[in-house]
């Protein structure tokens, strides 16, 4: 029998345990995508119960429903356009006053709201007394008390969803705006019952708040817009009047419902924060934690990846034998091209698993927000947010998890910016290529020049951050304004789901792109004949000299760079293949063929020029935008070209 579908939109402030609720309810029965045309993640999960299939859409964590953030626009459009049967609002019981602010806005869009009152254990430990029955009566909405991390109250929540769906008779109390009611009524006179699915009162409120999208809608739909505009602009402080009116309504609701103790107990969170957010102690702790995570991620990865690599090599050999019936070119294409791509992809499994395990720990315990607070000042120098620290640091190991970690940034533009900047961080393979060249050409100065590479990367991030922010994204650095959630013990189930989701989406979405790119590059380097000198790749290399000649590169170097796109270290093996030598032998040949200035220019160029195929695939996975993916490639290529051209000129003048 076909099940009856109940569509539920899951809404709530950030840090109220909304994802915990989502994961506890749906487990692995969920899939992740993006909101159409946005880089914002969309998660949908399912629960089956009796004759019902409950479809839960996890909306982004939000404080409000303004037009100022994409997350809030997505949420309000979802509610009015998708019209879910129910909106499930998760509220942090220990901060109920602030949390009800979102409810006051939801009430203007829909009546079908169920409140999940989460973290009641924390409310109790703070010795707050909340009369839930009374609150239910005053709001006219069902409330389910729960502790999501301990799986308390979730079954009741599901039962309540079904019960309310069956009864379908919710009739919540309306929000009273006090002094503002007169203004609202005056504005409402000018408005039809609904405009573009939005109710009249909502429109009136949003006009007073100065909501840009609502203003545009009204300007386009109303004939008497100018008169209306006059009324709205009569008072300068209308937005804050609306906000204050909402809080006064909340205060009235909570009066006699919520009782706070006179003397508040000092919570665990405060005691821990005394140290972890301390300017000195907190910074020391942050450095230790980040170093530890970096060290552990890459050392644990080393152990597993060498095992995995030998396993993948074995499989490659077996494949080679199995495919003996094919013509050699095809066999080689499948094994050395396609399978090589697949195994490169699979070799990322340990790294992503380990790193996202740690990141999930940081996020789930609540420490990530403190880290952002501590790092904010430092990151400001680079024109970035405190939250950018982790993605940047992990990128020194590998850009792929670095780009994936940008998900922790709320703002879409900040995220895109950081994704592009991430690829200027020299990952380990790039440093390996650089070290090879440095040790051959500048054995005495290798170390200091290596440091200069890191310096160049910082400069590049700094310059590019400024350019991209102003000219491309047209956004300014929004000042730090972030809630510090309560510390909690990490929940193993939540962490497991988090890591699994990351891994799954990486393998599926980034995987397809990577395998295709690697297949194409193989064909280019093995067509028309098997030797690389006559290949299409080499022809492209020779053609690109048109641009790369001013940098002093020969076609061999250019070809190396092109194959470095697949994996940065591949540029060395390609050079080896072209010159028919490797290691010191290759070094000697290079020494005879190019000047030290060209060598250093090459090192810097390969540091900056293009994110590797795996990173490009991840950028596509994260942004879900071909435009941004291509832009990232285009930008880093042009930046690298201009920067090294300049560098080359300067070096030619001064270097002897």
């Amino acid at each position: 029998m076909e099940k009856i579908k109940i569509e539920v939109g899951l809404v709530g402030n950030p840090n109220v345990g909304k994802s915990t609720v989502f994961n506890q309810l749906t487990g692995l029965n969920q899939h992740t995508g993006n909101w159409p045309g946005k880089t914002v993640e969309k998660k949908v999960g399912y629960i089956e119960k009796g004759k019902y299939l409950i479809e839960i859409t996890d909306l982004p964590g939000i404080y409000s429903l303004t037009a100022n953030s994409i997350e809030e626009i997505i949420s309000r459009e979802y509610i009015v356009k998708e019209k879910p049967h129910l909106v499930l609002l998760i509220i942090d019981a220990s901060a109920i006053e602030r949390n009800l602010y979102l409810l006051s806005q939801l009430l203007e869009l829909t009546s079908n709201i169920i409140i999940g009152l989460n973290m009641i254990d924390i409310l109790q430990s703070k010795k707050y007394k909340l009369d839930i029955k009374k609150l239910e009566e005053r709001l006219g909405l069902p409330i389910v008390p729960m502790v999501a991390t301990k799986n308390i109250g979730l079954r009741e929540l599901v039962d309540k969803i079904i019960e309310i769906f069956e009864k379908d008779n919710l009739n919540p109390k309306r929000v009273n705006y006090g002094d503002l009611e007169n203004d609202l009524q005056e504005i409402e006179k000018y408005l039809p019952d609904r405009i573009e699915n939005y109710p009249r009162r909502w429109i009136a409120l949003k006009l007073l708040e100065g909501d840009t999208i609502t203003i545009d809608i009204c300007r386009n739909n109303l004939e008497n817009w100018l008169q209306l505009k006059e009324i709205i602009e009569r008072k300068e402080n209308n937005p804050i009047r609306v906000a204050s009116a909402r809080y006064s309504w909340i205060k009235k609701i909570l009066e006699g419902t919520l009782e706070r103790p006179k003397k508040q107990a000092i919570s665990w969170t405060e005691k821990i924060d005394e140290i972890l957010t301390h300017p000195i102690l907190g910074s020391i702790f942050a450095v230790i934690i980040i170093s530890l995570i970096f060290y552990l991620t890459f050392s644990i990865n080393d152990i597993f990846s060498s095992l995995l690599e030998s396993l993948l090599d074995q499989i490659g050999k077996v494949l080679l034998n199995l495919l003996n019936f094919l013509p050699p070119w095809w066999k080689s294409f499948l094994v050395n091209g396609v399978w090589q791509g697949v195994s490169t992809l699979l070799s990322f499994i340990p790294l992503i698993t380990v790193f996202f395990f740690f990141l999930a720990l940081l996020e789930d315990t609540g420490y990530l927000a403190r880290l952002a607070f501590i790092a904010d000042r430092l990151m400001h120098i680079l024109g970035l947010h405190g939250k950018s620290l982790i993605p940047l640091v992990i990128s020194f190991g590998c850009n792929v998890p670095g780009v994936m970690a940008t998900r922790t940034l709320e703002d879409e533009k900040d995220r895109v910016l950081l994704i592009i900047l991430d690829s200027f961080i020299p990952c380990v393979p790039r440093i390996l290529v650089a070290s090879f060249f440095l040790s051959i050409f500048f054995p005495d100065k290798a170390f200091i020049l290596l440091l200069s590479l890191y310096f160049i990367s910082f400069i590049s991030i700094f310059i590019s951050g400024k350019i991209l922010r102003r000219k491309v994204l047209k956004t300014s650095l929004t000042p730090l304004l972030m809630e510090l959630p309560i510390y909690k013990f990490p929940n193993p189930k939540i962490i497991m789901i988090y890591v699994w989701e990351k891994l799954k989406s990486f393998l599926i979405r980034a995987g397809t792109v990577m395998v295709i790119l690697s297949g194409i590059t193989w064909i280019l380097s093995h067509f028309p004949t098997d030797s690389i000198e006559n290949s299409v790749l080499a022809s492209i290399g020779k053609f690109s000299l048109l641009f790369l000649k001013p940098l002093g590169f020969n076609w061999e170097l250019a070809t190396g760079l092109i194959s470095g796109f697949i994996a940065k270290e591949a540029s060395l093996s390609t050079l080896g293949a072209i010159y028919g030598a490797s290691g010191n032998k290759l070094g000697e040949i290079l020494l005879g063929n190019i000047t030290p200035i060209t060598a250093f220019t090459f090192i810097v160029f390969q540091l900056l020029y293009i994110p590797c195929a795996a990173t490009v695939a991840t950028i596509y996975k994260e942004t879900r935008s071909i435009k941004w993916t291509l832009f990232s490639i285009f930008y880093s290529l042009s930046y690298a070209y201009i920067f090294t051209l300049f560098l080359n000129q300067v070096l030619s003048l001064f270097w002897r």
Partner: protein, 81 residues
């Protein structure tokens, strides 16, 4: 005495009097809990950013924001809570 949040000392309580800045910024602060008339406590001071508690929530505010929120504090109004 009226001063900005950036000038408050750790543990000090103050009542929000006014917030300088554009409508968007003032509204964003209000949504997070900081509205005129509301009482806040300074929990932590760092090299620029600060942490305040307002409406039972701890908020981290960047330097610029802290400088633009003005509060009324009582003289000798230090409070250990």
């Amino acid at each position: 005495m009226i001063k900005s949040v950036a000038e408050m000392t750790k543990g000090e309580k103050g009542k929000v009097i006014t917030i300088h800045g554009g409508k968007g910024k003032i509204l964003r602060l209000a949504e997070m809990g900081i509205t005129p008339g509301e009482e806040l406590i300074l929990i932590q001071k760092s090299l620029g950013p600060v942490i305040v508690r307002v409406k039972d929530v701890n908020l981290a505010l960047g330097k610029g924001l802290a400088e633009s929120i003005f509060v009324e504090v009582e003289e000798n109004g230090k409070n250990q809570n």
